[in-house]
């Protein structure tokens, strides 16, 4: 019975609003734009942060990545003998020590990087040769396109096996049939055993450990062939560097252990390294940071949305107050016939809620259309989440209730005798 009555009241409200179509539409406009912009902005924001989070997740949330860096003070000191050797970076011992010190460390992946020219047939490509272990492919998950990844046996047998990236393979005109062929890297020949997908590396602040010009070989082979020394001949000076490991990827057994291990590693490395020649990056921390940024972003968006909906709500209230004044006589008639105050309140409240909810629905439609257009024509990723739609509709309905209450109460509190006399 009550439900039927509510439906009847809503129908009546719609009918009354339809008497002034243009006015009702203009009244809704504030909420339409408020809701539309909320949904659209949230979709764009969600799209952007999802992309960032996706990238961070690709680094592996249980991983800690330690990278060797050239200490800044060494680089700038001019009083270096031209034959001196610069020694810095992670040591083989660091890996061992880390594994021994923390039993929450699941696996460690050492990486040794050498720049070499790769040649396959006629084509050449400047490669970043990554001497690593089979575990690399478990910790830095990339899709295998053809062949296989490195195996532990490759290292044990000192096998001259190389895994190329999709990009590298394409540049070297390698195809699936290339598997098994010989790739010349520097002075040595390697058998191409597989091709993996790679991250382009570009795309924001987050540096992935892999690049598209990578060529993966067993670390044992890299150590034997290229050693720990790099000699660079530049104008007037001979730069000799010794780096044992360029990168160390550490996998921790559980998310909650990532930060303690990272802190422990930091302390441990500080003890053994007099210079700060390493950088620890924790994808999980980045992830947290990105999430915090996203939260801030959402708060900002929420405030903007709140303000625009507030403005929309005030617009509705304004019109409803005018409508109450205009319909004072109608209110008087209804009261004289026997309408109770709350029935007058519900009549006007329903009209306001119908207005704001209709505005919300139109706004949602616009809010769905804009991200679609942005994704289509600007190529930015957008994600419309269900919760943003529910939120926008919920808020627009509440705007109707909050801003409708005052005009409705005002209407209900009119003195019936005065109202009847109103011209």
């Amino acid at each position: 019975m009550r439900r039927i009555r509510l439906l009847r009241n809503i129908r009546l409200g719609i009918k009354t609003l339809m008497l002034h179509k243009l006015r009702s539409f203009l009244t809704m406009l504030g909420v339409v734009f408020g809701v539309g912009s909320v949904v659209a902005m949230l979709a764009v924001g969600e799209g952007a942060s999802k992309e960032a989070l996706e990238q961070i997740r690709k680094l592996g949330s249980t991983n800690i990545i330690i990278t060797s860096i050239k200490p800044a003070e060494e680089e700038s000191s001019g009083a270096r003998s031209p034959f001196s050797m610069l020694m810095y970076g992670l040591l083989y011992d660091d890996e061992r020590r880390a594994r021994e010190a923390f039993d929450t460390i699941e696996r460690t992946v050492p990486v040794k990087i050498v720049r070499q020219e790769g040649r396959l047939g006629e084509r050449t490509l400047e490669l970043r040769v990554m001497g690593t272990t089979a575990n690399w492919f478990d910790l830095v998950r990339r899709r295998l396109i053809a062949g296989r990844t490195l195996r532990p046996r490759d290292g044990e047998r000192r096998a001259s096996a190389v895994v190329l990236t999709e990009y590298g393979a394409r540049r070297l005109l390698a195809t699936e049939r290339t598997i098994g062929q010989s790739l010349r890297v520097g002075g040595a020949y390697y058998e191409v055993v597989g091709i993996v997908q790679s991250e382009s590396g570009q795309g924001g602040a987050i540096q992935t450990p892999d690049q598209n010009i990578d060529a993966y070989i067993p670390i044992e082979v890299a150590r034997e062939r290229y050693g720990d020394y790099v000699t660079e001949v530049s104008a007037g000076s001979l730069l000799r560097e010794s780096v044992e490991l360029h990168q160390l990827i550490i996998e921790v057994d559980a998310i909650e252990n990532v930060e303690p291990v990272a802190a422990g590693l930091e302390r441990m490395l500080k003890t053994y390294h007099s210079k700060s020649d390493y950088r620890i990056s924790v994808p999980l921390a980045l992830l947290r940071q990105a999430e915090a940024t996203k939260r801030t972003f959402n708060v900002v968006l929420g405030s903007i949305a709140g303000i625009s909906l507030l403005v929309g709500g005030i617009g509705i209230m304004n019109i409803m107050l005018a409508s109450v004044t205009e319909r004072t006589r109608e209110i008087g008639i209804r009261r004289a016939i026997g309408a109770k105050r709350r029935q007058i309140i519900s009549q006007f409240l329903i009209e306001t809620v119908v207005l704001s909810t209709a505005g919300g629905l139109i706004g949602v439609t616009i809010g769905l259309l804009i991200p679609w257009l942005i994704a289509r024509f600007a190529g930015m990723p957008t994600v419309v989440t269900g919760y943003s739609l529910v939120l926008a509709l919920g808020v627009s309905t509440s705007v109707g209730i909050v801003f409708g209450l005052y005009p409705a109460r005002h209407a209900a509190n009119l003195d019936p005798i005065e109202a009847l006399r109103h011209e």
Binding site: R334, R335, A336, L420
Partner: protein
């Protein structure tokens, strides 16, 4: 029918019927800035079921105030108003509304139909507040429209009707909830003489069928239709004329 400014209302010996509305020493004072206006200065009067009364008097005599009180639109400052045995002065706004809905029907000088509603919807209005279901109230609206001779106008809007027709719609609306008392405030004030007479005969007919009809008018011509004519002056009932039966 009895009267007297300070006496207790008492029933005339000839009356056999029951009292539906009874004012006992009712005063109504409106604050007007620093001073007060005594719109009613002690009125006692009672109306029997099925009677008809005309309240007459110059403007400012308190006849509108009296109608508002009788119509439960207002509460007396002091005194008692018994409507269907209930002292209305004690009721809150909600209960007053309920009383208006169930026991009173209003006919106004300016018709007071709701312009955006059709004739049918206007007639159904009290039933809507009584929570009648759609079919029942549709049937009742048709019956009432038939009663006032407007069965063919149900789908029209008030603006499409003549003044006389609009007032008849108002009567149909006032009758829809089957109230015991019909209150009319200058019902013919906006009508020409022909439609006035038609409306008055409609009201007389309803009265003859047992409705209590109380009307405010300043036209002696119309007051003739009523059994009792209350002449008001300065907030009190000056005298009551009984119609020559």
């Amino acid at each position: 029918m009895t009267r007297g400014p300070d006496r207790q209302a008492e029933r005339a010996p000839t009356t056999q019927t029951t009292t539906v509305a009874c004012l006992e020493g009712v005063t109504k004072v409106y604050p007007m800035g620093v001073t007060e206006v005594r719109a009613l200065a002690g009125v006692s009067v009672s109306f029997e079921a099925g009677s008809s009364g005309a309240i007459m008097g110059p403007s400012g005599s308190g006849k509108s105030t009296m109608l508002n009180l009788l119509g439960c639109l207002d509460r007396p400052t002091s005194g008692r108003y018994l409507l269907e045995g209930q002292d209305v002065a004690e009721l809150n706004d909600n209960a007053l509304s309920e009383f208006r809905l169930r026991h009173l029907g209003f006919v106004f000088q300016s018709f007071n139909l709701i312009p955006q509603l059709t004739v049918r919807e206007n007639i159904e209005l009290p039933l809507y507040y009584l929570d009648w279901d759609a079919d029942e109230s549709a049937g009742r609206a048709e019956e009432m429209a038939e009663r006032v001779g407007l069965a063919d106008r149900l789908g029209h809007r008030p603006a499409e009707l003549s003044g006389g027709e609009q007032q008849r719609v108002a009567v149909a609306r006032a009758l829809a909830a089957n109230p015991s008392i019909l209150l009319a405030d200058e019902p013919t004030g906006n009508l020409d003489s022909v439609t006035s007479r038609q409306l008055m005969s409609l009201l007389s007919e309803l009265n003859a069928q047992g409705k209590t009809v109380i009307m405010v008018t300043h036209e002696a011509e119309l007051a003739k239709y009523a059994q009792h004519r209350l002449h008001m002056r300065d907030g009190v009932i000056d005298r009551i004329d009984e119609a020559a039966a």
